[in-house]
Symmetry: C2
Subunit: 190 residues, 2 copies
């Protein structure tokens, strides 16, 4: 998606260790107009998929997913991260390792909000190693809902998540695909 | 706002200890169409206030604020909660006590995203004791930005936050104001 790529080049910052900082428009500060255009693009891609629920993970997926819910005209659910392993039986849980923080979070969603009959589109801001997306896929699987696919804002194709998840048969639509980030701050799209 | 009140009566759950659970449409599961109508109401109320930035706090404020940003046509910033007191100098920080969890969080926002010249509307899902809202007000004050006011989805008027904050001169617009919640699960609006 051209406008997202242009925005990444204009306002993204390449940091050491393959980190792309997009806090100016995608994370801590959000550009809702851009999110709306992203949502329209996912809607075009998943037009005939019968999506009736969107699932994301806190915190940086929520803004994107809420606006997408407006475009898809369906409810949006976000999975919560918890340091605690002791959670009530009213939730589905899974473990997600964060490569950024080097920690494992329990990720959970209330059973009431994911059910058989739901056709779920998972949305998230980044796809790199794929741990968060696979965690959300696991929650959908546990619930008996049907996974329609995933929509990602920015995929780092030089990290293994996207390839592994597509190979498992899941449709993944990424709006910007970064093939390489140089030590000089340069970004090459796939 | 009639439609929000109706939704609270239909899908809200009164729990022991004055807790109102609205996870079905306002928190973990979000109704984006309802959020859009709420945003239009805030826009009507703050039509001439020159809002050019919306500030909220993770996680449950983000969806509401993102959709409001679409209606106000301005960027949305969310403050992060951190257990750690050691945060870099690139951020404004404040302390917020959570009555629900009995813990104090450091709440922070990057200096880059709140600046003099910004006219800030603070949005959040609940106002009860007022700790979160006063924390966000403190971040705005530190930044030198101008606080236009606050928009709240659900205010519990039987708790002291709203009165204290209005008495301090800050405009607060709550879309549903709950005066009383009975042990029998009943809800009386103000």
């Amino acid at each position: 998606m051209k406008r997202l790529e242009e925005r990444i080049l204009a306002d993204g910052e390449v940091l050491a260790g393959g980190i792309l900082k997009v806090g100016k428009f995608l994370n801590q500060q959000m550009d809702p107009q851009l999110f709306y255009e992203m949502a329209q693009e996912w809607k075009r891609l998943y037009a005939d998929a019968g999506v009736n629920k969107i699932l994301t993970i806190e915190a940086s997926g929520i803004g994107i997913a809420a606006i997408a819910g407006l475009v898809f005209e369906c409810p949006v659910v976000f999975a919560k991260k918890s340091k605690s392993k002791n959670v009530s039986g009213e939730v589905y849980t899974t473990q997600v390792f964060s490569f950024t923080h080097g920690t494992t979070n329990t990720v959970l969603v209330s059973r009431a909000y994911l059910q058989p009959g739901d056709r779920v589109l998972i949305l998230d801001d980044f796809l790199a190693n794929g741990a968060a997306l696979e965690g959300l896929m696991d929650l959908v699987r546990q619930s008996g809902a049907e996974l329609v696919g995933a929509g990602i804002a920015i995929e780092k194709t030089f990290q293994p998540g996207g390839e592994r998840i597509r190979a498992s048969g899941v449709r993944v639509e990424s709006l910007a695909r970064i093939a390489e980030m140089g030590d000089d701050g340069s970004i090459r799209f796939a």
